[in-house]
Amino acid sequence: MPLVDIDLIIGGPQGGGIDSAAQIVIRAFSIAGYEAYGIREYYSNIKGRHSYFHVRVKDSPVRSLRYPVDLLVCLDYESPFVHMEDVSEKTKVLYDEDLVNTKIEQVLTMEPETKKHIIEKLRQSGFETTLAGAVNYMKKKGATPYPVSFRNLVVAALGPSKPPARYANTLGASLAMALMGLPSEFTSRGIESVFGKKKEVLEDNEKIVKSGYDFVRTHNSVNVNELPVRPAKEKYILTGNEAIGIGKVIGGLKLQTYYPITPAADESFFLEGHDYFEPVMGEDIDVENEVLKNMGVVVVQAEDEIAAIAMAISGAMTGTRTATGTSGPGFSLMAEALGYAGINEVPVVVTLYQRGGPSTGLPTRNSQADLMFAINAGHGEFPKIVYSSGDVPEAIDDAVRVFNYAEKFQVPVIHILDKNFANSFFLVDDLDYSKIKIERWKMGENSENFERFKLTEDGISPMGMFGKNIIWLTGDEHSELGHITEDPETRDAMMVKRMTKLETILKEIPEEEQVEFIGDKKADVTLLSWGSNKGVILSVFDKLRAEGVKANLVYVKLMNPFPAELVKRYLSTSKTIIDLENNYTGQLATLVRQNCLIEIDNFILKYNGRHTTDDEVYEGIKRILEKKENKVVMVRGA
């Protein structure tokens, strides 16, 4: 058992500093030598609606979250109501005592449906429908309330002239950290790491930290053990969006086009902030060469997603590593152009961040429901790669890989991700650059009649590009030169050439890049999954193993062309197979049935848009193994 393993939720209004509060917690613990991981949950709204951060701090690597939480930090009047179910006897509930008389009707930001559900619960348990009632509800579940007057503490620390609401995040974080037992110096350093070294800010925050820690010290209603400080290593704090941006830049991205959409736009926004940098050119290249001292990445906000992918496709045909990023609604608009990239064998990368659909659906919530759509997007038949990543360290490598795949095989690649991944925070080490390989197309010898679409055994023609060769591209069926033709024999030959790439891809991508097989060689239960649930599943495996249950995970990354033989082999290592995904129909299981002729009978699914947690996965596996249920729907999350 780890000595330190703490889950906490910090809840408050969108735009009210929740993000910085969570950043303070993660950075402070990292500086003190701990590992941390978190996910941000928020409404499709700019300011005011309830948002929260779920963070876990541990003394060993962490990449999943659990309910009930150990600490609930309520920075607004909505948090105690909506997180009422997230607590147990181990939970400390920190809340603003000045708000206890708030009636649920007065919580203007709360949606009527949510209100109704909470009112029902409070009434059924015989509690008032006030904030005090919600606290009592949690008390009945065994939680320890920890009332604090935020206003009094801020006024005592900074005087009456400073608005208490502005300091709610640093005060909340300080109180939380004091309650968790982190020495205050690390909280101060965490705050400095988030807000920088501006003198006035630092001084104010220092006073806030002190008042938070003093309060906890003098109000000893809960037991606090000071945490030991551990040997620390400098780490990067990265979200999924940032990891993809970093992987792309390291992989050689030079042109990124996008139209803003949640949860994809943060990546492009991040790139815009890091688009001009000093390269490491190596010994042989003249460092005095002024013009190579800095390198740029051109990031362009297009007028819509159709333009974004059109620009990316043609940009890629100049030999530039080009990508575009989007989410379901934008990806829908890209379908026609994807086929164009397919028939013209264009090495373009589309980063697809899934969110709740259909239509606008749940714009800021998680989903894995676009797998089938990604595989089938675009009319007609053409080769494309659909490749999945699930966590930050993996995603950095994969963002380089997908460029390599696109160029080596000259196909469009859809890099499929999800919102949970995009909005998760990881702590990672610097990269091992010697392990990062960049592989590109084979160029053709330039000649008068350059055959951009030369027929070959493996389907891959020598690459030709604008600015270097005289080539023609057309969305029509074409000859080896790229001119329009409807000749039936040429059509047949071109279809075979293009579709042969699917076999070439399966042959050439190393097995371990296609599917990861993790866990016991022979097991009692096999989980079949993809994307951001990897960390949760592996974390639950530790618990199962401690109970003597052997488990393994078939974690599929290459979704198209589907590695059927490999998946078949891995799925034969246990009798019970459970498909776990964030969608309604079990799309990966459908792919397995279609490609491997294996029927998957057991499902753990989630489609309410909230992050998957250890406890519900554990419960799901147990219900399937012990109670012989076939389908468990996970419903946690506010």
Partner: protein, 280 residues
Amino acid sequence: MSELNKKPEDFAIFSGIGCSAKTPHYINAPGMHTLHGRVIPFASGVKLANPNLTVIADGGDGDLLSIGAGHFVAAGRRNVDMTIIIHNNGVYGLTKGQASPTLPRGEKTKGLQRPNIFDSLNPVALALSVGYTFVARAFSFDVKNTKEIIMKAVKHRGTSVIDMLQPCPTYNDVNTKEWYEKRIYYLDKDPTWDPVVKVASSEESEKKYLQAIQKSLEWGDKIPLGVLYQNDLVPSFGDRISDHISNYFEVPPSESPIVNSEGDPIARMEKIFGDRLIRR
């Protein structure tokens, strides 16, 4: 091409989908026959990645002003250095003669069952109002003049638009060659006509703009041809990029190395993303 002193590889010719879209396949220069309505973003992408190429985008009036109208508007705001030719024939040629956005209401061309019940839009006025920095009109049967206008458009640094009046003998029996020949006249025959903005954001530039708008409204008995507006003082999109990425033209995206002499990536975490490092 040779008059511009360029090799075929220095060009990239784009087209949308329509009768006019076969153009790239008839030119011995790199070409891209793209999607219906999307010629502008495809053409822009190549230029962004390799600003050293000379880019020309051909589209039908349906292509550029109906399905691709959003891109047409956006391109005016970007001012990417390229030339857009609107092959304006009043109809959707390739799909058998439906009314295009430039066909006036009440006209009944051969391909229509009844007179057109849509109002037409004015491509020149539209182009002017969304910020194009070079706007001209030409008549395809006057090859010499058309060539001159194309040359001027290509030389302009910024997006040039040419409204190319182009009869469609198959489906448009209203706006025929003869119909146009009776009406067209050349603006540059008038020695006082000067469409070029010479001083930035001055009274003069507003005057040039208004004079062009006024000319754009002339349609009927008299149809003006030639350059209606030209403003070389607006920075091209590439110039705007190079304000921030100063070696953008010298080392454009397509020419940037991505691995160093040891074969390792030239981009490094600590050099670029150091702001995400939790420092102690």
